[in-house]
Subunit: 213 residues, 2 copies
Amino acid sequence: MSSSIKSTNIVEVHHHVTCEARADLNRHRGGVLWLTGLSGSGKSTIAMELERQLFNKRWQVYVLDGDNVRHGLCSDLGFSPGDRTENIRRVGEVAHLFAKAGLLVVTAFISPYRADRERVRQMGPAQFHEIHVATPLDVCEQRDPKGLYEKARRGEIPDFTGISAPYEPPEAPELRLNAENCTIDRTLTTLVAYVERTFALPSDQVSVGHVAS
Amino acid sequence: MSSSIKSTNIVEVHHHVTCEARADLNRHRGGVLWLTGLSGSGKSTIAMELERQLFNKRWQVYVLDGDNVRHGLCSDLGFSPGDRTENIRRVGEVAHLFAKAGLLVVTAFISPYRADRERVRQMGPAQFHEIHVATPLDVCEQRDPKGLYEKARRGEIPDFTGISAPYEPPEAPELRLNAENCTIDRTLTTLVAYVERTFALPSDQVSVGHVAS
């Protein structure tokens, strides 16, 4: 699918609410936390638990994952290289829209291609943090929580990342989680601290009464 | 573009944060306010002003409009009937994702086809409210804020809604705004009252300390 801009005669209409005003209301900046890793590495489990913990701290946070996107926005796409690229492009655009709306969005997609992830990083003004869920292939295959590796080994799933399709690990992710050496609790403690350090507003910048002009 | 589901072997991972918990935090439900109307009818102006006013009441609200979507998520699409349908399908899916994340999302798209709008209504569990910005064609053409009608009359823009492409007005929208008979202020007063009546939590349901279990 081409990514050249076919839309013409589109005139920009500006939001009257700034990103700064949204951050001030929410007490944290919007941004994208992009989890990447093999199937079974723990991305979705980590993302959903992170969402729960941040929500309990009253953050505006939302997880985009394969399930809520593959059944909807990207239901027309399969797993060929071109379709994977288009899938990640659309998810990236949506993630940046959420970030502009002030949310911290956590994405949980295998997103195997380095170039696709890099394109998402470049898409928006929002902060993009690449988090590598670096569980090794043999551990993922041993876990095989969905039975997919077994099917892939039997040749029943074509283009399966790590088996019959490539995974290109990030070279310089903002954070690397070696989840196989850690309990989920310790992984989450690391991640929540990272998020707060990166996206929370310093408390002296918080002025609850702030409104848009 | 096909809308059949090509994705297989997708296993659902559930959010631990419910829509009810999000509504409780935000003091309003998430939902979709779908503005439809001709080019120049006032959709974007109304949407952006509504966003400002609701934000100032501390609502989680975000406008999706042609500009922030046609340059990004839908940059591969033009204005043929098929591309318009796919454009509205994607925007609809994104709007429902925002609503699931707890936001009131306001969309400002011509969205000329009844069937496309009806498909968006059916997409999600979120409340979908169709708002017809019912400014008549002759008023829109007289305003012509972007000079597009003039270009379209000269044949310089193909498939221009109202001139060389159809607009199918909603038969039973949740709300119809006759913006040409009203000042923008009065239109906004009507709309804000409608939104509060429809999406705000009754104050006795608000319990600020509520957290997800």
